[in-house]
Symmetry: C2
Subunit: 557 residues, 2 copies
């Protein structure tokens, strides 16, 4: 693989099909497209049916390592694979965040010969959705601080109670906790604030969970801001800012159409990061895909403990969507790492390590089965893997009643996913599969957190910090009890401690504090030391990115 | 005028021409367009000639009141007027900022029957240029703080020396002065920072002053960051972030094509606010316009003391552009206000007040004449104006050797600008007009500031605060002496005190502090109490903005 081209080289050498021809494949007319250049287009709302007939396939993963396990690559490969055997399938994915693009992880458009293109545009500003969400979020912040500034028009908001943060789509740890309004009266009211990364904005979640513009406005209005000095709860609607926020989002709420390297349709819409946010594409995008195609392949990461759990409880819980099949992506490398091997011990065949590290994948399999779906395991193939290792994974999966197949879409494109496609079609036909959520929405917030921690993570118990206990009391008083839970937790472990790899047992998770997303209708418990604004690594990826005088980009990945 | 439609009503009722047909009018082929929907397109670089043959007409204004004098409306009217008498003319304007859209002033797409459209899109995110500029600016900030965080990769930058600020396209006073990096080691290095509004970003100025991608990268690299603990100057190039910033700007640096209500071409590109920034559209856009058309009408505001002065010294100084004619926009209302009348005294005819308030317009006329150009005065017509008042202005202008004409383009579109168009054509043919700058670039920074203050503002002297004196010393040591001056000052007065209306004399202006823009090659003296991040009014315009369930917007202006 030493001469194997980079992702951006493959993407730059691809011949793109005009987006109107991609649209034609799914019966969308040129008149319905709003072009962003020749290869990107916004789709109108009216393409989605309320109860579409397509089948929904969710791709998730075992607990990922820092290398990434190729979940997006497998998702795109599966779409191309389904199309290659004559099925009408579409990828429906979240959009990338600029944070990882300039940070450590790189973009989020797949890899090798399984990518969505134009890769550079998608990984950069794309159609401006994230910027619009960021502006709507920060307009609300500006209006809050302006309300504090003007006593005559003031709602009597207690600055110390304000629960709304600003956002920026950037890995920027110095903005996590800040003091604003410094420098005297002209510069506003001095108070603590902080920036989350844009995908963690409640506005992002609201956009992803809204049915339409009307629902969007109701949800924006329901955003909890804080309390007055005499204890009254204040919402965004009280600040008369909902219309302006919705105007900022009028284009961002429309799904975006692009293509895979093999010229199959892909809809990208909404935000990533199931570690700290709801982290999957919009309901509008998924329903549009299901209305235009027989199969939608979507993804929710990082691992199934975060991505799939939230997909089921939040996204399916707030819509009539139900998954028809689930794929868990695994790699030989990740299984070995979960056995406890070091990074320099991965290159040699080690069936024993596979046997030992399988415990992580096993727990994810069991978890998906708890939701009533028998998953398919997809082993993303790497050159250093061996047949003995694959066979060990397959054997172990069969002990759980699950098929595991290898997948070479990174190198081969869609043809490398054909076996996976067939196994997934089998599971869709398996009448035993009946999706059900794991908790009752009427349970208390505390109980729902405990259910996720014990059933999905395998924790013995949940501890609540003093701060979180106080917040829990307020959440109950505000009547937010029936909301879903949107955990914020390290994706590296089932626990809240990234060092506890494999399948940890006899551990406790700690709720450090809560954030409230009453417009999105979920509560965010922050577990361990998780942050909703990432930092850059010592040598960020931005150092490798450049553009020549002809506009050719290098270093994006 | 009680039933006269609002700007947004006129814009929403307009029949838009497909952008490819607008492009065809200026000889641009469909293949050269990158569509953003049907009515907006990016233009490629290759359309601009290094020495284009078109004539350049600058529209500026007398010192504006809080009502605005309709400079953009007159600019667009003049383009439609020139086209209506058979001339090939194009509008080349800056893009609007979201700050005023949600603040007090509203958007910046003209008004009445002289607008550029699609008005809503242009006033909102448009083609994403401002968001891209904001991201490039803030990526640099994140990289600076990341450098402070990682001792092994550190440049030994002194946090107290950092001169680079973050930006947000929002009126948000609470972000003017902030403390970042609060909360311990994981959250970065605690230090003072602040946000400017995005049009005030040096990245905006660099984009507007760059010749091409290569020039853009050189300028980005030249951005001054601060000093190491041992006194060495650090630039953006030292942080290895220039390539990534340029990648973020790869689309933003391309000019945007839209249309006027009368279907004439308009190029919008770059940032506003000559009060606190360079504040006019990009050199690339102007040269593209001059290459595609016989006449380019462009604008620089607020008043000529800011907009025109910077246009001549910064934009023309850094390119081979020379204005062929200058229009000064005035209103009867503004002249009356500069006479000292109150806001409730404007509705009755008052020739004496015109005579008294003319002093403001007179000084602007004299200033333009100092640059070697005899201006035309354009009186933006309002229903309450009278012929006696118009005649008084015209008579007074003639004493300065200048023609004044009324203009009804707000109500009548292009036809209302025909007389103006003819006077402007006369001045272009006037061989006496020979543009020359007012200061020598080799003068000291201090001297150049004094020249502007005495020659343009009419000040007796310039005071420098202790802080600004220290900064001036550093600016000299850094070798930035030959840079231009980009004044930041209230637009309401020739002085730095907004209360000194009319034509103040015997006053002093005070340089409070400096900001450095070494990539843009100018130094920014902050006069009086001017801020580069505006605040919202007590009742912001955002409260009036809404969108219905069908996507129809109200309240944008």
């Amino acid at each position: 693989m030493s001469n194997f081209p980079t992702d951006i080289e493959i993407a730059q050498n691809a011949t793109l099909v005009h987006i109107k021809d991609i649209a034609a494949k799914i019966g969308v007319s040129n008149d319905d497209l709003e072009y962003y250049g020749k290869y990107k287009a916004k789709l109108p709302f009216h393409l989605q049916n309320e109860n579409p007939q397509g089948k929904l396939i969710l791709v998730t993963a075992m607990s990922p390592t820092k290398f990434g396990e190729g979940k997006t690559t497998m998702t795109i490969g599966l779409v191309d694979g389904l199309n290659s055997i004559g099925k009408k399938a579409i990828a429906v994915l979240r959009e990338p965040s600029l944070g990882p693009v300039f940070g450590l992880k790189g973009g989020a458009t797949g890899g090798g010969y399984s990518q969505v293109i134009p890769m550079e545009d998608i990984n950069l500003h794309f159609t401006g959705d994230f910027s619009a969400i960021e502006k709507a979020n920060n307009l609300l912040s500006a209006i809050i601080d302006n309300n504090l500034q003007n006593p005559k028009h003031s709602l009597n908001l207690d600055p110390k109670s304000i629960a709304w943060k600003r956002v920026m789509d950037m890995n920027d740890r110095a903005l996590r906790q800040i003091i604003i309004g410094v420098g005297g009266k002209a510069n506003g009211t001095m108070r603590e604030d902080g920036f989350n990364i844009t995908p963690a904005s409640e506005v992002m979640a609201i956009l992803c969970l809204s049915k339409d513009l009307e629902d969007l406005k109701i949800r924006l209005g329901n955003i909890f801001i804080g309390k007055t000095f005499d204890g009254k709860a204040i919402f965004a609607r009280d600040l008369k800012v909902v219309g302006a926020m919705a105007v900022l989002l009028k284009e961002a709420i429309k799904p975006n159409l692009v293509q895979t390297l093999e010229g199959n349709p892909a809809i990208l819409h909404g935000g990533p990061f199931a570690s700290i946010a709801q982290g999957t594409n919009s309901i509008i995008a998924t329903k549009t895909g299901l209305s235009l195609s027989d199969f939608v392949v979507t993804e929710a990461g990082f691992g199934a403990d975060l991505g799939a759990e939230k997909f089921f409880h939040i996204k399916c819980g707030q819509s009539n969507l139900k998954p028809n099949a689930v794929v868990i992506v695994a790699t030989i490398r990740a299984i070995k790492l979960h056995s406890g091997l070091g990074e320099n011990e991965l290159k040699t065949t080690n069936v024993l390590a596979i046997n030992k590290g399988f415990c992580n994948l096993e727990k994810h399999i069991e978890n998906i089965q708890k939701f009533g779906i028998n998953p398919v395991v997809c082993i993303n193939s790497f050159p250093e893997d061996t047949e003995d290792e694959y066979n060990e994974v397959k054997k172990l999966c069969l002990t759980k009643g699950v098929h595991a197949v290898t997948n070479t879409s990174f190198v081969d494109g869609g043809i490398g996913s054909v076996e996976l496609a067939q196994k997934v079609l089998d599971e869709i036909d398996n009448t035993q599969n009946k999706f059900k959520p794991l908790y009752n929405y009427s349970d208390s917030i505390e109980q729902k957190i405990k259910t996720i921690a014990s059933e999905i993570y395998g924790a013995d118990s949940v501890e609540f910090s003093t701060k979180s206990r106080t917040q829990l009391k307020m959440i109950n008083e505000l009547g937010f009890n029936e909301f879903s839970i949107c955990m914020a937790k390290t994706p590296a472990s089932f626990s809240d401690n990234e060092k506890l790899i494999g399948r940890p047992t006899h551990f406790t998770v700690t709720v450090r504090e809560f954030e409230i997303a009453s417009g999105a209708r979920f509560i965010i418990p922050l577990l361990g030391d998780v942050m909703r604004m990432p930092g850059l690594p010592a040598v960020p990826n931005s150092e490798r990115i450049d553009i020549d005088n002809n506009g050719k980009i290098i270093g994006l990945s």
